[in-house]
């Protein structure tokens, strides 16, 4: 939440405005939960935001946050990388079902755009992860972090730069900031999949997007930037990873959906394939 408000302040400053107060997302959330009328379109309409929230929380649960800490390695186990990649997509599918039941034609357009973009985002991401799995010979995030300990030159960033570049480019899409925010931008075909969502439903969606962003930033920190051995390191690193996408977002205008799909399938995918070929 703090991240998203900071991001919007930065965007405002870049365009010469003062921007929202830093606590604005919390006020919005309180207001959304306090609305008096709610309507539903059916069971799946309820479950959509819940599934999405589960995707975010699930990712968080199975991710080792702090290296070497028993408590904060959460429920990570030897194959957690695959599970987390699945959770990343899971929320999207739940959202698609829920928004579909809303029955609004704009939701349907939003869903088709969102799913097609997210599928192509997953391609370089998965290629990078496969490359890492070959490099470190494991699918456990904790083991990958362990292998990166011992100085900055042991980070995947330097030992496997191609995979890092491919994954960081796909991260731009996963966070959904400017060049790739067509799906949910308020001024595109009204706001995409959550057209019909309001009140508490929208509140749950917003809560989730905050959780999901932190979880994704933590995943990238673990995979490519040597993990974190204490909270301070964790916060600094996740913030920097997050702001990579924010800074790119403030500079570049929005892509159309066919442009972004082609973009993801071009350079990030080629780099990802190179990253795998090196280790074959």
């Amino acid at each position: 939440m703090l991240m998203s408000s900071t991001m919007r302040r930065i965007i405002a400053r870049v365009s010469g405005r003062i921007g929202i107060p830093w606590y604005q997302p919390w006020i919005d959330l309180t207001k959304l939960y306090s609305l008096r009328t709610q309507i539903s379109h059916g069971t799946m309409f309820y479950l959509g935001p819940v599934f999405r929230l589960m995707g975010g929380v699930g990712m968080f649960l199975f991710m080792p946050m702090i290296f070497g800490s028993d408590l904060w390695s959460n429920y990570s186990f030897s194959g957690d990388l695959v599970l987390i990649l699945y959770f990343q997509f899971f929320g999207m599918l739940g959202m698609a079902l829920g928004a579909g039941e809303g029955g609004h034609p704009y939701s349907a357009i939003g869903i088709s755009r969102g799913l097609s973009q997210f599928t192509t985002i997953e391609v370089p991401m998965t290629l990078a992860v496969i490359s890492l799995a070959i490099q470190y010979d494991t699918l456990s995030i904790a083991k990958i972090v362990e292998a990166q300990q011992g100085g900055i030159m042991h980070w995947t960033l330097f030992t496997n730069p191609f995979a890092t570049v491919a994954a960081m480019l796909s991260l731009l899409g996963a966070f959904g900031h400017s060049p790739f925010n067509l799906v949910k931008a308020p001024n595109e075909i009204p706001i995409g999949p959550p057209t019909e969502y309001h009140g508490t439903f929208l509140g749950v969606l917003r809560t989730n997007s905050a959780i999901l962003h932190v979880a994704e930033a933590a995943l990238f920190m673990n995979l490519f930037f040597g993990g974190a051995s204490n909270w301070f390191e964790l916060i600094i690193k996740t913030f920097l990873i997050y702001f990579w996408s924010v800074f790119v977002g403030t500079v570049f205008p929005r892509f159309r959906i066919e442009q972004s799909v082609v973009w993801f399938l071009k350079w990030p995918t080629i780099i990802g394939i190179i990253a795998i070929i090196i280790y074959l």
């Binding site: 919007r8 405002a12 365009s15 010469g16 405005r17 003062i18 921007g19 929202i20 107060p21 604005q24 006020i27 919005d28 309180t30 207001k31 306090s34 609305l35 008096r36 009328t37 709610q38 309507i39 704009y106 308020p186 001024n187 009204p190 706001i191 959550p194 057209t195 019909e196 969502y197 309001h198 009140g199 929208l202």
Partner: protein, 229 residues
């Protein structure tokens, strides 16, 4: 005599203006049986709006504070005043500072700015949008056209007093008011909400019949449900 004439006109309009997708029709269900669908009854919620009692004491105060500090405006421009809204997001006025944001869909917005004259055709759309907004909801009426018709007061096709058709929280007079006036209006609305007076959605529910009668008097081709969620 006159009443009968009105009735006949209404029947005629009903037949003439009922959109094809809203006509009663036969549809075959997935299991093969034929069912009859009346879209006006089946696809829309015909329930009347309900009054929602505010919570008590500090809780309501806190919620009102949150509602006041997070005003989401429906991006619906009517009349000439809608040109005054875009400058609000520019660096010069920057309404984001005050927690005012634009939302593209009525489901997610709380504030409806009627920005100028409302033609009868637009009034219909404005009512539908207003009723779809989740309560508590507020209306800001911009410009003198919404107060007494302004320069359109004797026009054949615009309404004169907005508060006969929708409950208005804040009026901003002028032709046209500048964006600063609009910001001041937002400030006034915030004061009202924080002091617990932003209950116009309940008033709309309470005087629903009166509002509907007024609306139907002016909208001749009423081809939608009485209350459309």
């Amino acid at each position: 005599m006159e009443r009968e004439f009105d009735k006949a006109i209404k029947e005629m309009y009903k037949e003439k203006f009922l959109a094809p997708e809203n006509e009663v029709r036969q549809v075959s269900a997935p299991d093969g049986s034929i069912i009859e669908i009346d879209p006006l009854k089946d696809y829309f919620c015909q329930e009347r709006p309900k009054e929602h009692k505010p919570r008590k004491g500090v809780v309501e105060d806190f919620l009102n504070w949150a509602r006041a500090e997070s005003l989401w405006v429906l991006g619906f421009g009517t009349g000439c005043g809608s040109i005054e809204i875009p400058p609000l997001v520019t660096p010069r006025f920057d309404m984001y500072r005050y927690g005012v944001q634009m939302r593209p869909t009525p489901r997610q917005s709380n504030v409806f700015i009627i920005s100028g004259y409302l033609s009868v055709k637009t009034l219909k759309r404005a009512i539908r949008s207003y009723e779809q907004m989740p309560s508590p909801k507020y209306i800001i009426a911009l410009g003198s056209c919404t107060i007494n018709g302004g320069m359109y007061w004797d026009s054949y096709n615009t309404i004169n007093r907005l508060d006969h058709y929708m409950p208005v929280d804040v009026y901003i007079a002028g032709c046209m008011p500048r964006p600063e006036a609009l910001l001041a209006g937002f400030g006034k609305l915030k004061e009202l909400i924080k002091s617990g007076q932003g209950e116009k959605a309940n008033e709309y529910a309470r005087n629903f019949d009166w509002y509907k009668a007024n609306q139907k008097k002016i909208i001749r081709d009423w081809n939608m449900p009485d209350y459309n969620w």
